[in-house]
Symmetry: C2
Subunit: 309 residues, 2 copies
């Protein structure tokens, strides 16, 4: 019985140490180390190499090391008949919420414009916008979306949200399903995408959707690069239907140097760092599920395979 | 009995029209128009030309057209024995508060750094900071400072404030006078200056003060350029005692092109536009005081000449 950590960044050893620091009795290996594949019953993974999950005959659980699991379903060789778990980290939600709030305020107060003006030594006041005047629409009211909705209400924004099923959140108007998407979009002045990436949501941020937003709307994508049709965004910025966009996620990361987003004056980029799992908060969740796995108890934060999140 | 509007931007006519739109019965002149100087009993001014207040023998009141009055005391020819009033605009306070919040969040989430990185096509995640981990210290707990303190508490920040006399604000530690300034500074991680500009506060943001902040502190000046000793700030940024600064105000505005702030990587500039008086909210205050002046009733928002604000 052992955990294998599989990821392609340089953080395998860090996570191994973090797990062992809390429970030194467990057996845990970095993917690249020597071990008996038969011993592995849990794979703790983040953007693993495709095919790497096929070599553990006794695997009992695939544990995503983050909130997202889309990368697991993208690997067609992954044994997704096994239980899949993900991280639900309250800090992840709080961090995401703070990042989005920073992006919205930067938009209202023209912070990025002024930074560019400073670069060019231009002194040019631009009329600011006020929190009270803006209707924020959140696409996706899962853990992250709900936390953001609550925070934005607290900060004085008008907030509405859209999701597959209607949600009950104080002071947040909730829209449900395809039938209510247009109505939701028609009154959304700042659109924040926090949807999970599934077959249904891939490419949802496209021309057809953008056209249903009021003229001058602002778009924030902090979910996944796959949600956005890049060329559609650029077209709608260039024809001035949209006034700008803040992006934290991209189809390929790091974003390739020749991508037009880098030089687009209305696109504000952050390098996929809105919210990062902190070992301190995540390790106990992983260990708890590993303990449950050994005792055949129900696992926490199981992913629904039909929904894909 | 008439009002004269004196200011050096191109907004005299706009303010004249705004006053007349609400009360067409009053007599109001732009400074550059023809009128009998003897008729003027109120001067509505904003950064007037020095000496321009001496030509009204029957002047009864100097009304600042904004929250600040420092420019009146700087004009040594101004008849400051007369009652001086200023604008107290709740929007001014709310706008200032939102602007400062945007600057603080931009700092915590590295928004300006990422904008510069985008310019240079650099993909480099930087560890963000969290609202809960930061102690914001507000220099000056007047109308603007108190509004900001309340908002920051609501947003989850730890907040402390310093002013001449102790203030009672829920969840805000209040420090008083010179004796408690060092203690206040020693635990302030983000310093926001919202002091009035007086002889006592001129140059208060200097090397001696900065050195009392913890290493890595961040400085925000949204009050007046005169509060800051520019070279001291640059020295403390370059020796890495301070991690950065956001400035909205400068000694000379617009800031001259050769000033080192423009090109300093740790200075983030906005062009004195944190908070702008809106005629809609300000006009009724001016007219109310003008009415009181005619009836010899006590004026609203009188400035204390001993305090200078």
């Amino acid at each position: 019985m052992a955990i294998v950590i599989i990821r392609q960044d340089n953080k395998t050893q860090e996570w191994k140490n973090a797990l062992l620091a809390v429970d030194s009795s467990i057996e845990v290996y970095a993917y690249e180390e020597d071990y008996d594949s038969n011993d592995i019953d849990m794979a703790l993974i983040w953007k693993h190499p495709e095919g790497s999950l096929t070599q553990f005959p006794n695997l009992k659980c695939i544990a995503s090391n983050g909130a997202g699991v889309d990368f697991i379903f993208e690997d067609k060789t992954a044994p997704i008949h096994l239980p899949i778990t993900r991280i639900v980290d309250s800090y992840l939600a709080a961090d995401m919420s703070e990042h989005v709030l920073a992006l919205i305020l930067a938009y209202l107060k023209n912070i990025e414009h002024y930074k560019v003006d400073q670069f060019k030594k231009i002194w040019k006041p631009i009329q600011y916008k006020r929190i009270a005047d803006f209707n924020i629409g959140i696409l996706g009211l899962g853990t992250l979306g709900q936390a953001l909705a609550n925070d934005l209400v607290k900060f004085g924004f008008k907030v509405q949200g859209w999701s597959n099923s209607r949600k009950k959140i104080d002071n947040v108007e909730s829209f449900e399903g395809q039938a209510e998407l247009s109505k939701f979009l028609s009154t959304t002045e700042v659109l924040v995408c926090l949807l999970p990436l599934t077959d249904e949501t891939y490419g949802i941020l496209n021309k057809k959707l953008f056209k249903q937003l009021p003229k001058g709307a602002y778009v924030i994508n902090v979910a996944r690069g796959g949600h956005l049709v890049d060329n559609d965004l650029i077209e709608m910025l260039d024809n001035e239907h949209l006034s700008g966009a803040s992006l934290d996620v991209y189809h390929k990361e790091p974003l390739v140097k020749h991508h037009p987003f880098w030089e687009h004056s209305k696109v504000h980029m952050t390098p996929h760092y809105a919210s990062v799992s902190d070992t301190k908060f995540v390790v106990p969740q992983i260990l708890e599920n590993y303990r449950r796995l050994q005792k055949n108890e129900p696992l926490l934060n199981l992913v629904s395979k039909s929904k894909g999140y």
